[in-house]
Symmetry: C2
Subunit: 301 residues, 2 copies
């Protein structure tokens, strides 16, 4: 049982975490904190939190667990604001889509007390945002990745893991660097590629005609280009190095494929397509056999 | 009312066309033709066709409409086999995913009688294939693109349009060149890009770990990489010039974006992402308001 839990940022991510813990009867008290009084009021109204405050002193007093669920760029300023009131027994964690930059901000803001900061990233989301989008079941069956620091105490890491398990998540552990490389490849790069394609098409003189004939293949491929441009700009910048590495590898791949196409190399093209199809189908089958039946929730991870 | 309709290739595309016409009571007689005796027997068994033959003479005698629904690479050989028995009143059409190459093959095979060939492309499909996959409603509400030749008689073009409308499709007209450029951009390139990404990831040493953390964004983006590698190799080669043009434009776009990422150009990155998101959402809303409620059928067009 967690005692006092503080949610900094009462939107989709923080709100769902709060609802899940409350639903599990796992928190004695949930306090909401954030910049928007309107969001805080709405979270209170919806029963997502028991009380709200914009005072760090009030929030941090006797806090057991603090979840940072605000844009990753705010990590440093938020931690700096909390630091004066950070008690020795309090564990702080986050939910940011990138980890190395968050860790660097945390080290800069907290100094030695970074030992109390357990970086994490729940892999879940929806296209909607704000407190009204929060769902108690958002994390059910989803992965939550913890990227512990060498300074973290095992018990504190365990507390964060336990909290995510109470939300129904399956906890995985990676280093911040592993996390950023993995998500650069399977999440950040695809988003960049989809945004790039749709912008490319939209800027063509006959764009209207192109969109007129775009069908379900295009729809699936570009769905993630409907995501928040600001959030993905931030993620792209935050994970820039890993993303550049992945993008460069992909550009090299496209150059090879371009060469085979230009050379009319059917077997060479087929080799790439076949390997991809086999891998995609194997992955798809593994996913389907592993996942329990879930509601249709998008994961802009 | 169509009299004798011949379907060359009794798989998903040809079979669904036959079922739709039969369902509309629009064909007096449907004859199946093809290379696989097994597929023909199955189509007969399923009631997709009224009779089957592997004799061009038998198939073409008194035929009103002939649909080529075989791989586009077989266009030339099939037309050459039909030519000796092609009667003046018969209209031949096709369903190929590319048009300029099909037109070239048809001109080479039929000579002056290319006037009787009306190139077309129904934009519909499913991940399954063969006669068992055929559905009478496959084309309901979908687009069918006709790319008439200068030599085609208006009445013959009208016959093909009417046939597709009887299947429930909405008929559009483009030149073969317009068709190939449009579908290079919104269909063929996305397939190439998805295959390239999945192959790239699958070849990495830590591919297993990457697939482990891939979630719904990756799933949507790479869904079309589960498509037939042979079919897409053929489409890529058949539409090579237009596809190279689109791929080169996209490579240029990625190079620009890479530069902005390397330069930490947040506003520059956001500009591309924002333009893409707006275009994607506008298109998505236009699609949703235009489409009638439809069964969930994939369209690997």
């Amino acid at each position: 049982m967690l005692g006092k839990v503080v949610i900094v940022g009462v939107g989709l991510i923080g709100g769902s975490f709060a609802l899940a813990l409350k639903g599990a009867g796992a928190a004695r008290q949930v306090v909401g904190m954030g910049r928007s009084q309107e969001a805080l009021a709405r979270a209170l109204e919806l029963g997502i939190v028991d009380s709200v405050t914009q005072s760090a002193a009030e929030a941090m007093a006797g806090a057991d667990l603090v979840l940072l669920a605000a844009p990753v760029a705010q990590t440093g300023p938020i931690l700096a604001a909390l630091l004066p009131y950070l008690e020795p027994g309090t564990v702080i964690t986050d939910a940011g889509s990138t980890k190395s930059d968050v860790v660097a901000s945390a080290r800069a803001a907290l100094g030695a007390k970074v030992s109390q900061f357990i970086p994490a990233h729940p892999i879940a989301g929806r296209e909607s945002n704000g407190p009204d989008a929060a769902l108690a079941g958002l994390y059910q069956g989803k992965k939550a990745v913890i990227t512990p620091l060498p300074e973290n105490a095992a018990g504190d890491v365990g507390l964060v893991a336990a909290a995510w398990r109470l939300c129904g998540a399956i906890v995985h552990t990676l280093t911040p660097e592993q996390h950023d490389r993995i998500f650069a490849a399977v999440s950040h790069l695809p988003h960049l590629l989809a945004f790039a394609l749709v912008d490319d098409i939209a800027k063509k003189p006959h764009a209207g005609q192109l969109f007129q004939y775009a069908a379900s293949g295009f729809r699936d491929f570009t769905r993630i280009a409907g995501s928040s441009p600001e959030m993905w700009r931030d993620i792209s910048l935050a994970n820039r190095d890993a993303l550049l590495t992945e993008l460069d590898a992909y550009l090299a791949q496209l150059t090879v494929l371009r060469g085979r196409l230009a050379a009319h190399d059917g077997p060479g093209i087929e080799a790439i397509y076949t390997n991809a199809q086999r891998a995609r189908r194997a992955w798809s089958e593994a996913i389907e056999s592993a996942e329990p039946a879930q509601p249709q929730i998008q994961e802009p991870e």
